[in-house]
Subunit: 257 residues, 6 copies
């Protein structure tokens, strides 16, 4: 593995010291969660990690080591704890991780902190961690929480889904995630196991505990991934990284070069 | 990045399902912590991660995504929160992470779980997580917690330190860690910044809060790293992986092939 | 106040005993949060409380006392902690409330439990409470979490918003909430303070801490409420209560008479 | 329901803003707990809620939405978890609720905060919440915790209990609570189910876990309620509200008009 | 210090093993809290410790090491955090201590557990610990919580207080505590510093945070201690130990010899 | 028991007030844990308590009441939860105790605080408490954590172990603890139950949960205690107390007289 100076964990402490608060710190948040027959369990962390690296090529930023584990996968977003391989944290644990990391970065003078999230279920709990870091730990920081899929513009959606977009809840292990993985980590997409298109099954509109059996299709894929391609992934990656950079420029104007 | 079937996060969920409880799961525990002028902040996670992969080449095991962040670095083990770039979790947060991961693995039938730790300060808090997973979550699992440096035999020590071993507390960013990094991730060792040997300064024999200034040498290195080499790292890696595998064979005899 | 046998807190304990697990228990979840110049701070609890009563007229159910306070109001859903009168709980506190109530109901044999939520930000934290009640407290219960606004069908939306629907995020103190309040509690709608239509300002697509100043319009209303009416509220209430009852029938078929 | 400007949840946010720290905020604390054959489960919240409203008619104050749920009912105060319908929170949960509400009120400048408690078992845990709000959240507030039954003067006691007062521990669902309910919410007193006087059974002088069976009389009433009347309730309500107002005047002299 | 076989911490593990669940275990709960000019800070732990030893002379029981620290001293019981030397635990900490000790005793088969409490403010929090040990840890135990001062019968009160009893709230560092200390630990009573009788000042009937200045008399003694004597202490000790033994006989009849 | 002015709990509050921050406060940390056939369960608290008293004879210090209970005994340090009589706290509970005591001492102006620890497993968790007291409670204090066995110099070791030192992990209920107990509390050493020398069994080099059966010798003693004597205990006590005083002089120079 070559040294990548965008990665915080590849830096020495004097290198970190030079960059602290002169660049943003991006913490990718992921999950270990089923992603169908053709994608690996680590997708939700790999995507924000690679998007963060791409953003860090365009804006001064250090990419912190990803938090690979996330909050419990929910059927409403196409996952669920009933699939083998979904390994999750409690909500309070994720909150505490976010709180601790933000507070400890702020302690050293790092003001500009970005949580780049790849797992829908992480949103509320990691956001609470940001709030507690500022309120209870006195962190002098500005924290931005970005869910990458919320920054795909309507024109890109139209290009990727000419027959209509099923909604992001259905986009689990489907066209966008598969394309992005095919772009960033092509060896991790098992093209031959990509299922024939299943009939679209809408996600439930309420939640039930204990998790019902059979809510999610057997494969774990809510919607078709067959149209996915590395080219579409490249388009998405470029677009999303651009949007992230726009946010960073807007929120941390002093850091923009 | 090629697909690595030893890595849990590279597997699809059906592949995980095939392996669950027919292989061990190894969770590397690290830290983001100063490692002198010549080693990067991520050493403490990278070493158990690569040692785990090496062990998984010799014993049926899945290597789970590392927990990159660890408990607060302490001067008594050569680190300390006063160095820029040391980004830590509270003790309770690390306990909860270990508890959640073990409990969620056990929920799916995974009995054989290994915490492979690369940061001395993680030991007590992650061990408490193991205890709570079994006691409070009812996890039906056997958890083994291994600190890799406790498995370097005296003859290897003698070969590496012909002039005498300063003790593992002093081995922070020093000969063993530098050699292992030079073996696993040579690009991440900045040989030209390796300091001339400092005079050995023993670690303090008691702890003080707030952390005193100047306890640790300015570089962050407690003892000489100049004798480090990739060859010594290869020797160490082979030896330690062998010891880990011996433990796995002894503790999980049913999994040994 | 007349005795209302749909209300759990109006029952004596022998009356509760007769009904326990022969009816569902619905716990309304609210918030104390700004709702513009014309609606009171208690809207988010009053709406699920009255919808629950309406549902309990059509399906055997006891309506438990509302949890009036909710998770911190967020700008992304039109609220925010910067408005006076927004009084909130931490995420962990809300999780614990939901966990305790579910577990204590289940302890007495109540299996059918519904959280009827009126505040978007409560969703994840109260859902975690449901999960913990079942997992950590051993609650033998089936818990259903319903956000009322997710059950307004597209044809109703079309009738209410002939000029296009701005999305539920914008529907804070706007047409639907104002209409429902005008139906259930007309004295609490200050018609004369209803603002002229502001230009629609879309909610932000990412979150920032500390909460930015000026994200939400000065009034606290994201979108026009001027088309609101008690008649539209009656339509909505009837429709939503019907949807809730459909869910109860589907999830608790043994209780349906 | 008419708009009641004493109720915080009936106010709009600009109305709240006008009153903040120019009036006290009273938070009623209740419980959902058995109250014999003739009183409903919600007594412990209704009484402080109505007493707070009465006090707010005499002293500038906003009555916040009640915390309907309280700490686990104990046999020593005539309740107990063995009765159906007793639905309780853990001690830590109640502490966190009190801490969060006080801290969030203080954040907006509200200094004068009253917890008006109707359930003996809430006392210690809600008091701890007050302490933590000030100490850990830095709330700049003065918090007063009042148990209403501790403010019934000896002459009133003598008038109500000419044959001798059994002690407040025995006054569970008995004369005072029944009279106050008959005054505030007469429809919620089931006069025909009021039991003939049972022989007085003193409450136990120590606590046992698990809760013993049969400690509390079968009805749940420790002492006679047959002498209760709306007239006595009116007397009590007037007296207690007067005492509360005296405390408010003494503790918040700047607010008294 | 001679070996005292009533003390659990004086036993070897095989001796403990012989006694486990064939005797009760009594855990004294204390506090470090001001006790006037003439009594030491440790009174609240010493009294239940010595009463427990006395009870263990009459009933088969092991006296566990005291929990010397207790919940925050409150003005309503004559103490308060404003006096130097009052060193307290949070409520949650005391709950966790009680929970852990009960659960760990029960784990080894010890069913009969007594919390003998000497500090009024500990009651609710240690009781919650007992509840959680049974509910959340599955402890198979019967826990009895005794406040020693609640077991002084009216005839003893009459003998000790011929001029009338001020109530236990006022009995802080006063006649009963001073007499018991004079009996058990006479060297720790500084007779020469015993103040002349102050005029009785009743304890407040509600609580205020932050703790008001001057609520408690300057000495810290609420009521006269001048009538105290070792003889009265001997009478009290004998009486209370007898009452404790009566409770133990009633609650643990199988252990009574 | 004579009054001992070194003991904080023997002081009145005015005496404490005179000493506060003009002397150090030493809090002994212990455990209730098996110590073989010949030593009682309370050794781990008694040793730091008596060493603290000895140090307080040589340096201005108050010895606070010991925290008798400690973190779960581990096989790696010769103990283990499988022995009857081992009664432990969770890690988080011990952290909270240390945090609360330090913070409450600091609140009264006590800056110089020493945790004198007698149980290896307490180290990390009590240290975390110190960190949290300073960071989260704003305690203005300097906290020193000393494990007494880490301050036995090599020459003393050589005198006590002429045939070689097995390491402190093995020194559980062995020569040093037995000698110190024979010095401080001779009646608590059951000389006749002292086992013949067992063959030395090294402690395991990794941890396993659930705790394996048979890891620790049947007696609970890892290594020979037969050479123990009160004379050796006196030598050790004098030496260790001297080392503690040296640390106190170095860390709290203003207090040294």
């Amino acid at each position: 593995m070559p040294r990548d100076q965008r990665r915080l964990d590849h830096l020495t402490w004097p290198e970190f010291k030079e960059r602290v608060n002169r660049t943003a710190v991006i913490v990718p948040l992921g999950a270990v969660e089923q992603h169908g027959y053709h994608l690996p369990l680590g997708v939700d962390g790999q995507l924000p990690f690679h998007l963060a690296l791409e953003a860090a090529s365009r804006f001064p930023a250090m990419v912190a080591p990803p938090v690979w584990y996330g909050y419990k996968s929910q059927p409403r977003s196409g996952g669920g704890g009933r699939f083998p391989g979904t390994i999750s944290l409690d909500g309070g644990t994720l909150t505490d991780i976010a709180r601790d990391l933000i507070a400890d970065l702020a302690r050293q003078g790092q003001n500009a902190i970005v949580l780049l999230n790849g797992h829908m279920e992480n949103t509320a709990f990691s956001g609470e961690g940001a709030d507690l870091a500022l309120r209870d730990r006195g962190a002098q920081a500005k924290v931005v929480l970005i869910n990458w899929w919320e920054h795909v513009g309507p024109d890109v959606i139209d290009r990727l889904f000419p027959e209509g977009f099923p909604g992001w809840e259905a986009e689990h292990a489907s066209l966008t995630e598969t394309s992005l993985m095919a772009h960033f980590l092509p060896d991790l997409v098992l093209q031959d196991r990509l299922q024939q298109d299943e009939e679209f099954r809408p996600v439930p509109a309420y939640s039930v505990w204990p998790e019902p059996i059979g809510l999610v299709p057997e494969s774990g894929v809510l919607y078709q991934a067959t149209g996915a391609s590395a080219a579409k992934g490249a388009l998405l990656a470029d677009h999303i990284a651009g949007e992230i950079v726009s946010i960073l420029r807007a929120e941390f104007p002093d850091l923009a070069d």
